[in-house]
Amino acid sequence: MKEPKQLSVSAIQNGTVIDHIPAKNLFKVIQILGLDHIDNQITFGTNLDSKKLGRKAIIKISNKFFEDEDINRIALVAPQAKLNIIRDYEVVEKKVVEVPDKIEGIAKCMNPKCISNHETVKTRFRVISKENVALKCLYCEKITNQENLLII
């Protein structure tokens, strides 16, 4: 008897599963976490059906465990992301992401006259509101709100 062919993102033994990523932001998450530069085995699926997000993406990274500080950097692009920490095929911990107090190098300042939009400057913001995200640029001191938020 042949086993039925199966196309699915297979389970991992040890590592981290990041679920509920908006499908359109999958590659931004990969970029922000630097997953395109590591040697770990990574599988991902995208455009999966999701009641919450319409279309979601999921990433499974073998033998990789993130510090909260690192994982929170994806909060701007995947605010509803959920993390499952896997050890020996079992979920040993669940985490949600939290918008950090400071954002560096991820978002673009909406002020066209800001120096960060004219020179090679790593953007830096203080988060002044986490629910309806509002970022205050440390350079021009203008506020970029959720509607105008662009990810670099």
Binding site: C109, N111, K113, C114, I115, S116, H118, E119, T120, V121, C137, L138, Y139, C140, E141, K142, I143
Partner: protein, 302 residues
């Protein structure tokens, strides 16, 4: 604040502000002191500014320092396509301190991060101009004897005017009551009013420029600029409303002083100039003493 850059008035603690004002009072008594002997100050003006640049250069000269720099981006290597990053890294090798004005917002903060020497922000676009705020505070304290519990009227363009925003935020440290007088289109932005609400300070908004100024200790006038109006008819309606005339000062308080960051166009009628309550030209003189104090504080010279 030795060796610290001065980018934004918010960078200074209240104690540091008072220290600068006290030091400036010393320079007012004795302005010619050669404390900057052997020091070089670079004045980098990527956009022209007569008043601020001359004031800084005069302050440096009175202290015996030397000045290098340019007065206009057209006469600098910017025209060859040099980045601000490269200009600052280069110039910071030539001097002990940089004074910079640049049309882009946040440019001064950026420069302070990459410069080997401290940077004084002499205006970064519509963002900050901390030495103006300090000289405004000096003028207020000098004429009123205190910064506490004053009634300050801000008049004109309260929406875009960076000087009024910085002054308001700074004066809020001393329990000030604010009155905002402006056309509807140029009202004080909500973020500043929310700030005052949060710290429990009183403010009143008016569109009429009338007798209410009789309560003022300080009237701070600003220009209402035509280009700020989306509707030119709106500008025509208000352009002569926010003009201060000598006749309006009849019932004002004896201690009242009228301030203006200058240049003035028509918002203060020339008939006010001879009134002892007019203080805007003395205000510019104070700018020298305050800038002397700032230069010496940053370079650690006494």
């Amino acid at each position: 604040m030795i060796n610290k850059s001065l980018v934004s008035i918010d960078d200074l603690s209240t104690e540091e502000i008072i220290q600068i004002l006290d030091l400036a009072a010393g320079f007012e008594k004795e302005p010619d002191r050669r404390l900057l002997d052997g020091k070089i100050v670079a004045t980098l003006f990527f956009e022209p500014s007569t008043r601020t640049r001359l004031s800084f250069e005069s302050a440096v000269s009175r202290l015996g320092g030397k000045i290098v720099g340019f007065t206009d981006a057209a006469s600098s290597s910017v025209t060859k396509g040099e980045t601000l990053n490269d200009t600052i890294k280069t110039v910071s090798n030539y001097c002990d301190l940089i004074v910079m004005r640049h049309p882009l917002e946040g440019s001064a903060r950026f420069a302070s991060e990459i410069s080997r020497v401290p940077v004084i922000n002499a205006g970064d676009g519509a963002n900050q101009h901390p030495t103006q705020t300090l000289l405004d505070l000096y003028s207020i304290r000098k004429t009123q004897g205190t910064l506490n519990n004053l009634n300050v009227f801000l008049v004109g363009d309260l929406k875009y005017g960076r000087t009024v925003h910085s002054l308001m935020m700074a004066m809020a440290r001393w329990k000030t009551t604010f009155n905002f007088i402006s056309p509807e289109e140029l009202k004080m932005p909500d973020e500043y009013k929310i700030y005052l609400d949060n710290i429990g300070l009183k403010y009143y908004e008016h569109t009429d420029f009338t007798d209410i100024i009789s309560k003022a200790d300080i009237i701070y006038m600003t220009r209402v600029q035509k280009e700020r109006f989306s509707d030119p008819i709106e500008y025509e309606k208000v352009k002569n409303v926010y003009v201060l005339r000598n006749s309006m000062l009849k019932n004002t308080k004896p201690n009242l002083k009228i301030l203006h960051p200058l240049p003035r166009v028509n918002e203060i009628h020339v008939d006010v100039d001879s009134n002892p309550k007019a203080y805007y030209f003395e205000q510019t003189l104070n700018g020298i003493f305050v800038r002397q104090a700032i230069l010496c504080s940053i370079l650690g010279l006494k």
